[in-house]
Every structure is written in C-alpha cells, then in structure tokens.
Symmetry: C2
Subunit: 418 residues, 2 copies
C-alpha cells in the first residue's frame, strides 16, 4: 500500500508538471537540456561513485560480464551521454507544428496541431544511459517522464535523477518533469501500470518477461519494444555480392542488438553458389551456423538446426540458415517466426522487391540494405526512444514526433451545425 | 471454456482473412461494399423480420422508448445504411499511400507507407446501423473486423452479418473478413480482450461501464470512445450574437450526442447582459437550466446546480451554467471536469483565442464555432468510426486513415552500416 501511495504521488506530480512543460517554448526546454549536460559534467565524481556501488553489488550478485559492462559508466560514456543531449537540443521541436490545415465548405478552418502526449512512464532494465536518453527526448517533446529502471542501476539512476532535477530547477521548470522511481520492486511497476488517470503512456523496454508482465497488467496504453527476430531473404535474382555484404553486416557488425539478423533465408536456386563462400566468411568471423538439412548438406560445418532455432533471438554470434524453395516460402517463414521488427530482401527483381515490401508485416522492411538500418538516427528521425513493434500510434523507430499526438483545432466565424 | 474456444476460432479466422483483404486493391474492396449494399436491398424483409424479434424482446424486457427507437430498423433507415456504404465507396483508399519519402546521405530511400492495422474488434451497444458503419469502414481500410454488438440487437446483427458474408463471398473475398459474434454474454468480450496474439485493436463504444470493463481487462490495445462533457466558454470579448447562436446550437440541435454542450461557462463581465436573453431562449426551447449561485441570481428560473452537475454528461435538454471570473477560471474548470472531448471558446480576442486553443486538452478545440462540429464528416475526414478520447494513435474523430498504421519501407543499393 505504501508503494502504491508513493507512486500515486509521483504520478500526480507528473500530471501537474506537464501543464508547465507542455506549454513552454523550445528555448526554455533547450536551456533545461543544457543545464542537464552541464550537471553531468559538474557531478562526474558523484556519478561515478554511485555507479561504483551498483557495480560492486552486481559483482556480489554474480551478474554476467556483459551485464556489468552495460551497467558501467566511464568518463567516456558520460561524455557520450552529454553528446546525446546536445543532439536532442539540435533537433527541431515537434510541439506546436501544424501538421495539416484545410478549409471546409462552410468556411471553418480545421487543423491538426502537434501536442505532447503528457505523462510517460518508462520501465526498463540495466543501462543507466537509457535514463538520460529517455528523459531528454521526453522533455524536448514537452512530456513529463517517470523512469523506473532496473534494480541493478538504482544508485546510478537516483544520482542521474538528482542531477536532472537540479538542472530543471535552474532552468525554472518544475523538477517533477523528470522523476526516478526510488523503489525497485515489481510492486512499483504494477502501480504505474494501473494509473490510467494520470499516466498517458507506458514504454517497456527489456526482455520478454518484462514486456509480457506489462502487457498483462497495464490499464495505461503500452507501446511495446519487443524482440527482433530479423531475417534477410537472399532471392535467386539477388546480386550475390550485395547479398554477401548485407548479410555479413546484418549479422556481424553488432550481433547483440535487436536489428541484427538472426535467420538467413536463401533461395534454393542459388544456395549452392552462395552458401559455401558466405558461410565460410561467417565461420571465420566466429559465427556459429545452425542450418536446415539442405544447408548442412551444402556446408558440413553447420550444426543441424532444431525447431527452437527458427523463433530464436540469439543476440549473439549464432545464425540460423534455411534454404527455401522461393520467395513465397520465405514470406511464409517470416510470417510464422518473425517478430514484426525488421525484414530484408536482397533481389534485383522489381516485382519481387515490391511484393516483399507489401506483404511482409514488419515495422521496417528493406530492399538491398542491411537490417541494421532500423534505427531512428539511421533512418533520419534523429534520436530515438526505441523501436515500437506495436502497430498502434507508432510502428518502428520512435523519435520526437512519436512522443507527441495531434489534436484538432478549429477556427470559426460563428458557424453552427444545421 | 467453450465461449473462449469459439472466440479463438473467430480471431484466428480473422487473422487469416486479413492476409487477403489487407492486400487486395481498392476496386475489389469497393465491389464487396457494393455487394453489401445490394444484399441489404435484396434481404430487406428478412432483416426487418429479424429486427422485429429484437424489438419484441426489448419491449418484453421493458427497455426505454429511446432505446427501442435506436434499435428499430425501418425501410428508410436501411436506405440510410445503404447511402452510408456508398459514401464509404466514394472515399479514397488510405492503404498504400506513401505518406512521406526522403533520401539519406548514404543514398537509402526511406518511406512511410500506409498499411491496414489488421484485425479490429469492436464492442458496442444497441444500434444495429453501427454494425454496417463499422464493417464498411474496416473493410475499406483493409482490416478484418469482429463485431460484438449488444444482446438487444443480436437478431438484427446476425442477419446483417449473414448478408455481409454472402456479399464478401460474391466479391471473391473471405467471408471471415467480417464476423458477428453470436454470443451475447460478457465472457465473449473478455475472451476478445485477451487475444493479443490475434487482435490488433479493440474499439469499445458505449456507456462508461463498458469502457471501464474493457480498459481494465484488455491486453489488446484499446482506443477509447468516451463520454463528452463539452463546454462552451463565452469570453468577455465575445461577439454576443455569435455566442448566442453557437451556444444554442451546441445544446439544442441534437442534445443526445457526445459533442453536445453540457456546461456553459460565462465571463462575469458580460454575464448580466448575456445570460437573461440566452437562458430565456434555452428555457423556451425546453432546456432545464442548472446554474451556479451567480447564474441563479441573474436568472431566477434556473435551478441551483450541485457538485454532481459539473461532471455530468446529460445527453438531454439540461444545461449547467457557471459564471467565471476570467478565462483562467474557465480553463481550470474544463481541466477539472472536461472529458478531453470537445471544448469551445467564443471570443474576438486574438491572444485569448490562441491561448485557449493551446492550453485546453481536448481532441477538438474550437474558436467561434459550435461543439457539434466534432464529427469526422463535418471536419472533412469522411465517414468516422467514432471519436477517440485516447491520446495514442488517434485523438478525435477516427476516419479511414486512423484505421491504418504506417510501416517504414527502405530502398537500398547494397548499403551496409558502418
């Protein structure tokens, strides 16, 4: 009950603060962002100290090296955070933009104007840099944010929260614009999920367990940032040189992220020419190949894939490979095992390129380009708060615009309805 | 368990059908809509017979006259339904429209293309014409729909469902594109709400109880169509003639709908001039006035308002009236009691007009025009499936575009990420 009460207070304070932050002009928001950047620089040692506590505790708990690495702040990483804030400052303010405007036969002028979404709650896991990213994007879009990070990063996050609140205060803005939830138990998440009266949107980012928990319990609208089981289909009309570079990049350039390729689908007509060299290159780069029967026949170094491999999000140097009869089979495989995240075809065939684009249901569908381009920055949206695999509101990378909504404004001269 | 199984089958069939309907071109969808219109004409007597059963049962159950009226189909009303279908046929198809397209420095061409949302479930109450409206809009936008109307209209809805499925069959489309749930208990609604794997969106339309039930239990994303507690604020800088016409229209033209005015807020500086004539006109039109103290002092025929009147959605010839000190108090009152639906100001003051537009959080905010214009058709969107008071995805009237989403398409020439 106490947890619920504390969260309720935070939510109410957020709803009050949004009335201010939702209306101030871009300059004021940019000043606050600059103050946050300054605050990070000035409080470097406090921040590193707080982070050291988290790391000590993580080691005690026996967290994996990868986890501890994600958790760790260094002077260089903090510099990276500061640069991210500067990028957000440079982005155009979406609020107040009149998206469209038209006139009705009776003279009414009807427009759609971009307004902040309101109060956003973000529930996420270990990385403390996510705290700064999310907060600066929400602030720039005129929203308030309640940040509930993982227990592993709690000391770092609370320190970041304090730095940001001081910066807001210096900029003359309510400090409740950005709040870090000091309670690490799940009860706090549950409380957030139920406050539909105060919270306009929940963004969960993290593992499947977290997303399921949020979806099941939320009364507040949720934008899911789900896993990426991404495919590249190499068509028989592909330029095989392009195919090789694209597939290699999609798997190897950064295997631990959601837009990396997990399964490669290869048309049987070119499998014998394409696979040996391609898979050899993968193996030389340390990639473990798990192939279908045909793949294993062509490339004996491949391990046989099992049914568990097709829906797997490895996030690692592992690749499932399947030889398919045609594009039809590739599309069917993607419909069955894909996660609506990122899908690519490599082909020089005009009709197949368009058919793949149309039929494949994913937030980003690419022709002749690496899946790694599914990223707000790469696609030209500026910074992103994540990649939505929900279809409502935003499908794909979410930038500043996706953190707003539009309302209708109508200018009349006394019109009434007849 | 049986109910759940039946709903699961329907949801799965809907998900299969969407693969067809989501891709066919506009002509095919229009042919299906024409077949539905033809079917309504040809099966007029069956439809009236089915409707008569619902009416008999409604009378037996002692439903109100207003309810029975909403439920009743006549030849003329069916003609109205046919005309609505023809309007939907005439509307441009939103699917396939490339909303934006741009080029990245590395030559990637990035676009956003409109695609259907997928499987839509609609949960609504008595009116059987809503069945045709919702189905034709969903179909035109390339979605499948599962319709779960009220038990009062079950015979009419099942008959309409059969007519529509026959029409789909004639047009060569899967009949599961439109399905009417034959089960009237709440268990069926509950089952729909939990099928996030198959259903992309739930649209509840109806009373507060229904909306709350849906919000509490849904794992599927919900677009709420909530009540309208709409205000008109008459400013001291208003053109009082315009104010009188607008307020009269907003209350009296059709009091039973969600965009009718429920509370009139009047600036104290003009209250004594404006209120006597205005309220007299309301009283003559049969409107009951419930006023604040100041209103009652100026206009003794007014009943004193109680705290229950300010958040009330009367949907009737009743009007709450409050005299306010200034626009600030009007905005605060709206923030406290409004329902984010429709709000209007009457003023000739440029700065106040803009400030009201900006600060009032409602799906449609109007200057010098009647609240009754919050309607898809009136604002120029064509037909509407309802008015969303949710902020995510759609805020305000939802037309065909709002029944779609966008995905990113990327055209490369072999680009990889560095």
């Amino acid at each position: 009950m106490e947890v619920k009460e504390k969260i309720l207070q935070m939510a109410k304070a957020s709803k009050m603060a949004v009335k201010v932050i939702g209306r101030v002009n871009t300059n004021v928001k940019n000043i606050a962002l600059e103050e946050i950047a300054k605050g990070l620089k000035e409080n470097l040692s406090e921040l590193l100290e707080a982070n050291a506590k988290d790391i000590d505790y993580a080691k005690e708990k026996g967290l994996s090296k990868a986890m501890i690495d994600r958790l760790t702040l260094t002077e260089k990483r903090i510099e990276g955070m500061i640069n991210n804030i500067k990028e957000v400052i440079a982005l155009p303010d979406p609020v107040g933009v009149i998206v469209k405007m038209w006139q009705r036969p009776n003279g009414l002028r009807v427009g759609k104007i971009r307004v902040p979404l309101g109060v956003i709650a973000m529930v996420y896991e270990a990385r403390p840099d996510a705290t700064i990213e999310a907060a600066s994007l929400c602030l720039k879009a005129g929203n308030t944010v309640i940040l509930r990070g993982g227990s592993e990063a709690i000391n770092s996050n609370l320190c970041l929260g304090e730095i940001m609140q001081n910066a807001l205060h210096k900029a003359g803005l309510p400090k409740e614009t950005i709040q870090v939830v000091p309670i690490t138990d799940r009860e706090a998440v549950l409380a957030l999920l139920e406050m539909e009266e105060y919270i306009d949107l929940i963004i969960p980012r993290g593992g499947e367990g977290l997303i399921r928990f949020v979806t099941e319990h939320a009364r507040v609208p949720v934008l899911k940032h789900y896993k990426g089981v991404c495919h590249v289909y190499v068509d028989d009309n592909a330029d095989l040189k392009k195919a090789e570079e694209i597939c290699f990049n999609a798997k190897v350039q950064r295997p631990g992220v959601c837009n990396a390729m997990e399964t490669m689908l290869v048309n049987e007509k070119i499998a014998k020419i394409f696979l040996p060299k391609m898979l050899e290159r993968f193996v030389n780069a340390g990639v473990e190949i798990r192939g279908c029967d045909k793949t294993c026949a062509i490339f004996p170094k491949a391990k046989p894939a099992t049914e568990q491999d097709w829906p797997a999000e490895y996030l690692d140097l592992i690749l499932a490979v399947k030889v398919v009869k045609d594009m039809e089979e590739a599309i069917a495989h993607i419909a069955c095992y894909g996660s609506n995240h990122t899908e690519a075809i490599v082909t020089e065939d005009y009709s197949k390129a368009w058919e793949f684009l149309e039929r494949v249901d994913a937030s980003v569908v690419l022709v002749n380009a690496s899946t790694r381009f599914n990223d707000g920055n790469q696609l030209g949206l500026g910074a992103e708060i994540g990649i939505s695999t929900s279809k409502l509101h935003a499908y794909g990378p979410m930038g500043l615009e996706e953190l707003t909504t539009t309302k209708f404004i109508v200018f009349g001269q006394g019109q009434v309805r007849t």
